[in-house]
Symmetry: D2
Subunit: 392 residues, 4 copies
């Protein structure tokens, strides 16, 4: 029965039936006109989600990490300097990957719980008169800490010193759940995946590249083949793929776009904001603290929540899983043992988010956390019911 | 998104993925050996759910109401007197159906919220020296009022006067969710369906007949054809049907039986008891009252709950549906406007039931019911967490 | 692997993925506005398939046989005389059912392989000056013999003698596959099901009643309850059902109507004609004979084919099933052992029908039938390829 | 309706319902014990399909091409010399990929239609006294030409000169359809995917590495990150992934292994041999010629068939697609316009393969190919029926 329960991990998300049906089509020929003709329109539609007019979207079979590898290897060369602010687990992964590909990574260490440090970027870039820094890498939504960074501010910092570095943004767990404005924010490479805002199974790395990023292909000497933008772009032009495309997921993506556009992107973002705010009301009622240090940094797709001193968050998530059959996000990296996470993105409703709050509340009570049953739920209920715009 | 929410109607229930997959098979030939060979073993397995050794089970394509028609028309004749206690909506339907088939229906009117009146049955049967009463009809679980009747007591009452009337029991919304003991309770005809305890789509009427009921076929002169036991039994013997069988649902039923037996019937009943008790704790915390008049009468598959004076339960369920996308049971018959119902049967977990309690709590608050948010949830949480036997 | 093969039984048919997905929806509340609002439009759409403007359509949970029971019991009274021509298995079933419901059945015995005898009807009706005959019952497409009857001719015969009897037509295996014109042919009751032309799972009896038939409700004294038109019509008006409706199948029916209308009914009929004609070319090439005696009688949804003297058709279909994993229709009734049947209705293509022809050809060869491999296939190929209107 | 037709491309293959259901599970937590505990057993089971005891299996989210990239980058360094025989489209792709990763590729050009040239390998390796050649790369089943190479012979050639080069084998379109013996043949890296013999959707690159290959990780300096064996192996040990795993496909793979083992690998191979041989009988009957030059080279998963002089194979496959709704493989590379391909791997039966033969036969007739309708089908029928071991 436990497979009836929703998951509250920050992705993959719960999948709506409609998308499950779309991913459950029988094999069709990926070289057929039907597939070919549907590919370009979908890539165009994806641009609306990235909010880019001049960028180009690439869909690779793989997980989001593959999208990062594509971004780096298609646009940079070994020895290139990149500037990364490290404020969570996923920033760590970018750094590691860059280093493996021979890049010279300069890290700005930030406290976990903070976001992209626009001011520090500005300072550092101002000192880089030779423009040796080729790229600035930031994570829009840091899943480990539940921090949403201000990408526009980073762009502003870069523009202030008129620095030509490109801006790479990991929007895996934000795209399709929170506003993302590729063009307006001057993002050059935006990396996402199928299993978060798109509410699909894992398996697609979805990357958007700006004209400037595409121009960088020419000189980029990082080795690449599977994740090559040119191979992908050239074959996509004819409705094809450089290798066998995952047609079921691609069909799911088409249906996902229809769902997102039907609900309306702004409504999708509002829904995520409300669900997140509901969770935050519960956190406050429990007397607990978010990892994200200030309200401006709150993610609307995931909340990372410190457990009280003397408690182990991993025991809490284990307990919730085994006793109630519900998965929450564990504390990652520095947060291991110290924080648990509630994913509230993708296919989720007021009703289901309350079941998650109620469940973790019981689990905390079971483990003698100093909380009172129902208080978190009540706070979330009050917020959700009073802000719902659904017509009754 | 609302289609992600569980339903809290007292059936059809939420369906587990495993059963949905089983009902989603491509067409197979219903005259093939594969189908034929699987039919009898499944009918035998069903007997374990009815807890009958000597009875015979029939599966008709149709809804539960069809099972009643089958029971009546195969075993009775126009003019036969039947004794029915009326204590809810579904008793009403039996009465109407009996009358349409020309039976002489004697009704014992009971207050809604009470159950099968064993004592009144005993009194009435004691006066029927000529044994003109051919059958006693009771509803095991009255869905309209959330009342579970004591069938063993009815049998005892019948046996006391050594009355030969047969005992017909509607167990549509109890079988597979609460204990039902056909042989031990001396039930002659037991009527159920696919969409409740079996967690399947609607479409199968599942009927069990005792040897005595089968013997009554001989003289029964009610007209019947589609629902004829003999046609069904004779063809079933050879793994066939008198007409095209709904193979997808039948395949689902096979999978449902596997699920029930794997969980263990007693564990299934315990789960339903706990979920029901959790709901009842919430009801008490809200200061509301169940329609079922005493604890012995509490149904563990559905709770019917009176709204406070001055409120309209239909508005409440409408509101919950439109604003939160969750379906609860409306008040039926006498209860229209006065009570709403929470179905807690079939495929359901602690976690999901809390989402239902939280939702109706919000809906009540929205409509200015004198309740405090979170109190019902908290009461249910405390009960569910402290009684859970899941290993943590 | 054998479950990959199409079936060639005359229903249930192969189901398209789109309809399987539509029937695989999670439980929704059948009392919700969403369900309610979709019911009437669907009933209206069904009228387009029956080609009736003034008739009313009823959908009962059950198989097609339930639709017959509904038709008879809602419009006739015990003792009423009905005239049935018996020219196949399914006519037999009508007769049996009428008799069980106390009707006075007058049978015109016809040779199997012939169709509805308009001339004999005319003769008989002409002699019925008292208009004691209340209804004429015919099977549009006799599945046992693969005979399609001329319903317009029957109506003409009835009109000739200005006889007021109603016309009942079994169109279970014709509706949605071959032209059916309820109004133009003066049909009063038309009975179909979900598992043939609608390409769905078994489980819906779909009945259309003319205004005259509806008027007959008043005086009809056959007992009925589950299959009562009035209960169904009255609740349907409000988007509801007298009992729990099979929402998954009803959702499938909605999708089926969309598919049929998208292909266009005339194109659907043309496709069936071509597939049937392809099969008939194969039969001719094998030197075998159809049960249907003349080309005017050929059914386009099923072909019943005599095996040569000295062969047993049941062995042939058994062999095809066990060795090749393909189901064909067995010989029914008089045809048992003498004929096998190829169902070519519902979701089927040129390509798949050829696989059926090739398979039965192999099976015949295995059993030493005097046929040459490939000749049937070649004849069908030639016909299908030269008549295909698909744009290449 | 055309989506009812099977595909005859050489992968992705038709998918059985059982596997579609397994890939259609709702999201589960990839960090949960349930997922973790099922991963290692599945990797062990995969070793039985590769027929390796000491090798290690890695499953990457991606298509087969990703598996090649993993194999090359984890075990080789820029500048390393590799020896590749080029006898088809997919050998071309290996070569291109190796070059992009900075390897020194020495190509032995072979005629298309031939297989891995064991003798030429032997000659070349014998001259490489310094053992500068680090790896020999061959394609087991060349999908473009329908050629199956003798890998054991290649190993023998390598062993003759006691050359320490590693042996890399592309078995994407052979594994699970034809015998593959990793250990016995001394294969060091074997690359496959989910969408061929495993009958699943595209999206998993499945790679097996020998102990020798794993030892080579140490010194391999090709850049890699996403496809890193060590990251994968280290996380897999704990039932985890270095990034989000595609749980639906992985669940499908588990079910696929169950299907393969239940049928029995030898029976699976026999089935493919028979289906292939059936197709080849048809080809012979048409008077056409396979690209594979000798019977020892015949692939049992795909046949590439030359069209007669003066005809264009691309027109043929286009025509079959548009007119009959059936996809065949187009001629790739040198074969474009000259040959079409019939994929006969994965989930396929005697019955379905006949539908493909019948279809392409019609298409050829439509385009005035000098063939007679039915002859190919008849030849295949005779072969298939007389060799079937199915019990009748």
């Amino acid at each position: 029965m436990r497979d009836l329960n929703p998951v509250f991990i920050p992705g993959p998300t719960n999948m709506p039936d409609r998308l499950r049906a779309a991913m459950n089509i029988q094999t069709i020929d990926h070289r057929s006109p039907d597939f070919a003709e549907s590919l370009q329109p979908m890539l165009e539609d994806l641009k609306k989600v990235f909010k880019t007019q001049h960028g180009q979207v690439f869909i690779f079979p793989g997980s989001g990490t593959g999208g990062w590898e594509a971004s780096i290897t298609n646009t940079l060369s070994p020895g290139d300097k990149v500037l990364v602010a490290c404020y969570g687990m996923f920033s760590h992964r970018w750094i590691d990957m860059c280093q493996r590909h021979g890049l010279d990574v300069e890290v700005i260490e930030c406290e976990w719980g903070t976001g992209a440090p626009a001011d520090l970027f500005a300072q550092r870039l101002a000192t880089d008169a030779q423009h040796s820094i080729k790229a600035v890498l930031v994570t829009h939504n840091e899943t480990a800490t539940g921090v949403l960074s201000d990408i526009a501010a980073v762009r502003l910092a870069m523009d202030k010193s008129a620095h030509p570095a490109m801006l790479y943004v990991d929007c895996v767990s934000s795209l399709g759940s929170m506003d993302f404005q590729m063009d307006a924010w001057g993002v050059d490479l935006a990396v996402s995946g199928s299993q978060k805002g798109f509410m699909l199974a894992t398996g697609l790395a979805i990357v958007a590249a700006s004209p400037k990023a595409l121009a960088a292909l020419e000189g980029a000497r990082c080795t690449r083949c599977y994740f090559d933008f040119r191979d992908m772009g050239n074959t996509n032009k004819n409705g094809a793929y450089p290798y066998t495309p995952p047609i079921q997921l691609i069909n799911g993506l088409k249906a996902s776009l229809e769902m997102l556009f039907k609900e309306g992107l702004d409504n999708v973002f509002d829904r995520h904001f409300r669900l997140a705010e509901g969770v935050r009301k519960a956190v406050a009622a429990w007397g607990l603290r978010l990892c994200a240090q200030t309200p401006e940094l709150y993610s609307h797709s995931v909340s990372a929540i410190y457990v009280p001193e003397g408690f182990n968050s991993n025991e809490l998530t284990d307990h919730a899983y085994h006793k109630y059959g519900v998965s929450f996000g564990v504390g990652l990296g520095e947060m291991a043992g110290k924080a648990f996470r509630i994913g509230h993105l993708g296919a989720l409703t007021d009703v289901l988010v309350l079941s998650g709050i109620a469940t973790i509340e019981m689990a905390m009570k079971d483990l003698d956390y100093p909380i009172e049953l129902g208080v978190g739920v009540a706070a979330a209920q009050e917020y959700l019911r009073s802000t719902s715009t659904a017509k009754a």
